[in-house]
């Protein structure tokens, strides 16, 4: 009895109780199988330890046994929302290694598809972010508009998510005769819908209270952890590879690299919202000027890369995606390594969420836009 009394009087001892909570692997806000061991004091987050590997599929090991065109089919199982950019990274890496120049038509179509994929990914991110913060309406708005892009993908290459549209040397098929019209219809439609997104969520008082000043990630931390993509750019880290190491048709278009210096959750949100406008403008600049020509160059039936090492970086919806191929001159690679953006971004989470409430952790995780197969590979 006296012991209980002592505890009740000495409130410090009650307040300092720390405990561990397992968040995941089936938590709805992790959007996949990610487990975080969260150390809490009351509602305050003290430390986060991410545990990954629940869907590690050994893609890098599998790549060592298959040929280069086959690798492309595995890459869109990683970051399925940036499937087209991942495919392009491998295709570009093989083309650069063999010094194959693809026709301009291919470059234009690849860039348009890249930006459509980025828009679809950001739309899904936006609706899921709203849902994580309790605004379920955004989910219906986002998915309604994303459907139009997926329909374009389906008409172009037969798949809605794992597109497999790129090949070393070009594209699988030419675009559908309807492609240009449907893309232009989508741009006109989505231009009217984007302000609706802002009305629904961006200006919402509860939303702003929960995001402003939450999850600070300084520029030096973003660089040290290698946080790239919109999450890094919201910390002022200028890392848009479409600007710094342009590939495909990106050197031909004018667009702004969106950089924010506020470093918080709201900044990461606004960078992605502004990027959607830029993507629309990039597509607009290209869609009417797709040059005539072949949609692929003739490649050998068995593609062998010269001996050596090749690295290709592309900008996906989540950040910098890298393909590192070590070749020994055979038809399958000696070693393949994928530098996935989500992997580096995830581990900065501890830095950002420390000291905030557990509900803020959900908001911060949403703005990192994690795709778990991209992390686990």
């Amino acid at each position: 009895m006296s012991e209980i009394k002592e505890v009740m009087i000495n409130s410090d001892r009650l307040a300092t109780d720390e405990y561990l909570v397992n968040m995941g692997p089936q938590h709805p806000s992790t959007h996949g199988v990610l487990r975080m061991l969260v150390k809490l004091e009351g509602e305050k987050v003290l430390n986060i330890q991410p545990h990954i590997g629940y869907i590690h599929s050994g893609i890098e090991k599998m790549c060592e046994a298959i040929s280069y065109p086959q690798i492309i089919h595995l890459t869109d199982r990683m970051d399925y929302l940036s499937a087209h950019m991942n495919n392009e990274a491998v295709a570009l890496c093989v083309e650069n290694a063999l010094q194959v120049e693809v026709p301009d038509r291919v470059k234009y179509i690849r860039t348009i598809m890249d930006e459509l994929a980025r828009l679809a990914s950001h739309q899904l991110w936006w609706c899921v972010m709203g849902m994580d913060l309790g605004a379920l309406t955004t989910f219906f708005y986002g998915l309604r508009d994303r459907e139009m892009i997926l329909d374009i993908f389906e008409e172009t290459c037969g798949a809605r998510l794992t597109v497999n549209y790129n090949l070393p040397g070009g594209l699988m098929f030419d675009i559908h005769p309807n492609f240009q019209k449907r893309v232009k219809d989508f741009i006109t439609y989505f231009r009217t819908k984007l302000p609706e997104y802002d009305q629904l969520l961006s200006g919402n008082v509860i939303f702003r209270e929960r995001t402003e000043g939450i999850g600070h990630l300084s520029l030096s931390d973003a660089i040290a952890y290698g946080v790239t993509g919109p999450s890094g750019r919201a910390s002022g880290f200028s890392n848009d590879l479409r600007k710094h190491q342009p590939y495909s048709a990106y050197p031909l278009v004018k667009f702004n690299e969106i950089i924010d210096h506020r470093c918080d959750t709201l900044a990461r949100y606004e960078v992605r919202m502004k990027e959607m406008h830029e993507s629309l403008s990039i597509i607009e600049q290209l869609i009417d000027n797709i040059p005539e020509g072949d949609y692929a160059v003739k490649m050998k039936s068995v593609i062998k890369l010269p001996e050596g090492e090749f690295y290709q970086r592309v900008e996906t919806a989540r950040g910098e995606f890298g393909v590192y191929i070590v070749s020994d001159g055979k038809k399958n690679p000696y070693r393949v390594k994928f530098r996935s953006p989500g992997f580096s971004n995830l581990f900065a989470l501890n830095k950002m969420a420390k000291g905030h409430k557990i509900a803020d952790l959900v908001a911060i995780m949403s703005t990192l836009d994690l795709v778990i197969p991209d992390i686990d590979r």
């Binding site: 990954i52 590690h56 660089i223 952890y225 890298g322 070693r335 992997f343």
Partner: protein, 151 residues
């Protein structure tokens, strides 16, 4: 710096390293003894300032184990490849660079998990994807009779 300037600069600064201009980037191979000092100097020197570690990968070769660091300078926009080789293929051990680039901590855990490279002075060297006692699947002599179907 351009690739050629960077190459000349590195040859001048690190005479004991093996430096070559690869197909894409300047490559520098250092011994495992010099690794930590070289990495710190590459990051802290104002001329190079390689503050962003793009990618850290391990490769298993027949005679040695190699760890590859792709580095970029955010301000100066140049990229280089740093490599370190250990002749001990079975029990490779090199120094960690996680105190220089924090993000390397997790990339090193991945390399340890899949290739069994031990990183000295690493604060939290545990397996990342796989269970304890799994073996090192990205090594070329890895055989898993249960889970891999030979074609």
């Amino acid at each position: 710096m351009t690739h050629d300037e960077l190459k000349t600069y590195l040859i001048d600064k690190f005479p004991s390293a093996e430096i070559a201009l690869g197909a894409q980037y300047v490559q520098m191979i250092v011994s495992s003894v010099d690794l930590h000092q070289t990495a710190a100097s590459l990051k802290n020197s104002k001329d190079t300032s390689f503050d962003y570690l793009i990618c850290l990968s391990g490769v298993d070769y027949p005679e040695y184990m190699e760890v590859v660091y792709h580095l970029e300078s955010v301000d100066l926009h140049h990229v280089m490849v740093l490599k370190v080789r250990t002749s001990d293929r079975l029990n490779p051990a090199i120094d960690t660079v996680s105190d220089i680039w924090i993000g390397a901590k997790y990339h090193e855990r991945e390399v340890y998990d899949l290739l069994g490279v031990h990183f000295n002075n690493h604060t939290d060297l545990r397996r990342l994807f796989l269970e304890d006692g799994w073996g090192f699947p990205l090594r070329k002599d890895y055989v898993d009779e249960i889970r891999i179907v030979e074609r």
